[in-house]
Symmetry: C2
Subunit: 338 residues, 2 copies
């Protein structure tokens, strides 16, 4: 691989001049510049990003710490973040923490060791130590999806409570009478906020909240499936179900079908997230859609600001609105024959 010195030799200039043209920092004579460019092209020279980073202490790399990028929600989020980062000139170092602190910490350290310019994180409940280490290392952090309550750090999230309330109001509008809710567990996660939104909507409509019909379970299809089965066993009259994530909602739909009921008819279901597949499954999933694009763009913008201006941290979370995507599972659209 040709190095800068080779280019310099070929162009008959000093190595510094080569840097000047690759960086566009210094002014360089037009003719010299042309010669250097020619040499670069001829040798197929590319600056070693590592060496450059070492010298500039800027890696143009972002660490992205997720619980699990195989989860459709995080898959779509990470893809959108990757895209926004790419557009902003950053490459993403990906880490799945699997919601185990030990592993999350390992990734944080790996990121830090590699001198990332910042780290974007969807922290597990017990990640606080991770934040400490991050701020101690003085590297910008922005959290998304889930927000730390203990450490006040920049965050970009969606208005979970309002989204959940809107969804629940929609359910109420369907004239339903027995309301259940499934959400994820965890303090820091949006699960609480979504459950709270559900409760609030019921209260606002003077509907009794039966907390036995509120389940906090694993953030997975299986979690949703099992919870729904149990809920339905406990209270067979449930005819409205708000689920705090689409992944769980898919499991819920499965359980509803298994129980011999028809989602959208016997029980109205609304999910949360707006994963792409929700549009295609049967019944089509009514859901509170998150603006993945905007979310990611905002996260990266915020990150770039923090990188350029490390001291001026605005810990006020950016809150983006959700949009209720009305489809079949709530009972609105005519169900396709199945």
């Amino acid at each position: 691989m040709a190095g800068r010195a080779d280019v310099a030799r070929l162009a008959g200039v000093s190595p510094a001049v080569v840097s000047y043209v690759t960086n566009g920092s210094h002014a360089v004579g037009a003719e010299t510049r042309a010669r250097v460019l020619a040499a670069i092209a001829e040798l197929g020279y590319r600056p070693n990003a590592l060496a450059r980073s070492l010298a500039t202490s800027r890696s143009h790399t972002l660490g992205l710490l997720l619980p699990d990028s195989s989860n459709p929600y995080f898959a779509e989020l990470s893809s959108a973040i990757e895209d926004a980062a790419f557009a902003a000139g950053f490459t993403v170092l990906l880490g799945n923490g699997d919601d185990v602190v030990e592993r999350e910490m390992t990734y944080v350290r790996t990121f830090l060791d590699r001198q990332v310019d910042g780290v974007i994180v969807c922290p597990s409940n017990d990640f606080s130590h991770g934040f400490d280490e991050l701020v101690a290392a003085a590297v910008p952090v922005v959290s998304t999806d889930r927000v730390s309550r203990e450490s006040a750090l920049p965050a970009v999230v969606v208005d979970n409570e309002v989204g959940a309330r809107t969804a629940t109001e929609h359910l109420i509008g369907h004239g339903r009478t027995t309301f259940a809710c499934i959400s994820g567990h965890g303090d820091m996660s949006p699960a609480q906020a979504r459950a709270a939104g559900w409760e609030q909507a019921l209260r606002d409509a003077d509907i009794d909240v039966d907390r036995d019909l509120l389940a906090f379970v694993d953030f997975s299809a299986e979690g949703g499936w099992e919870a729904t089965r149990e809920l339905l066993r406990r209270e067979p009259r449930i005819d409205a179900l708000f689920v705090g994530s689409d992944l769980q909602a898919v499991g819920a739909l499965r359980a509803i079908a298994d129980s011999g009921r028809t989602a959208g008819k016997d029980v109205s279901v609304v999910g949360f997230d707006g994963i792409r597949l929700g549009e295609y499954i049967s019944p089509r999933l009514t859901t509170v859609a998150q603006p993945f694009r905007d979310l990611s763009k905002t996260v990266v913008e915020l990150m770039v600001e923090l990188i350029d201006n490390p001291d001026q941290v605005d810990t006020e979370p950016r809150i983006l609105p959700t949009r209720l995507e009305i489809r079949e599972s709530c009972g609105c659209l005519p169900l396709a024959a199945t």
Copy 2:
């Protein structure tokens, strides 16, 4: 941030000795070693991975170039690869090429600039130039899912043709009479092999292959949906459908439902990939499951071999078996009431 020099000073040794203990390369006196370790702990010192990489020309970083990690198949694949890489001591730099060569190339260069130790790639059809650049840079490449036919390069794939044949045989076993197939387009992709497997199974069973009922479309739910609609319009008697990917299969199920038919009863459907959600949707998707774990482990193992032994490239592709996962959409299991 404390540097190596600080540790050296605190421990009263030369910087080199600090390196000796962090790398465990040189022998170091027990007592000295203890002092250094203590200093490291006290200062919270961590070696700068960039500097280390620059000196050793080993970054312990792998580039992962995918078409689109928000696609459930690639999401699960990438997550499994990330996990295998993590276990092997590598961190993953993620890039979504979006199947556009320009963008793929940008990522290849970005990876190369960052001195990745190797790149794992699911190349688009026109990625050959990317391979050239990679081999020119003498960095190990292993491709997975899709395999280049032009450049003979290490690859880890699944036995697509056999998987598809097995699936189709299963469909035939259901006593179906009118067979359709949807697959992805593209030379390099496994789409061709899966379609070929479908055809082969029909031939082997002396069933006429109606190539009008074979559609190559976009690798997406929408692609599957639209193709199925069109196929059903063209030949309403279709009662068996093999789909070359689960994502497309989800779209196909949607179209079947929309047409007033019942998948699993009126038309038997088998997908390919084995994405997790297939287990939960209605009807539960019968599919040819890929061994994500094994695939990823093999990819990373192969990569590690290549890194340790760059000249000894074994271009013979590793071919892993699939497993037919029988559920509802083919008509085997009793359909849950919907």
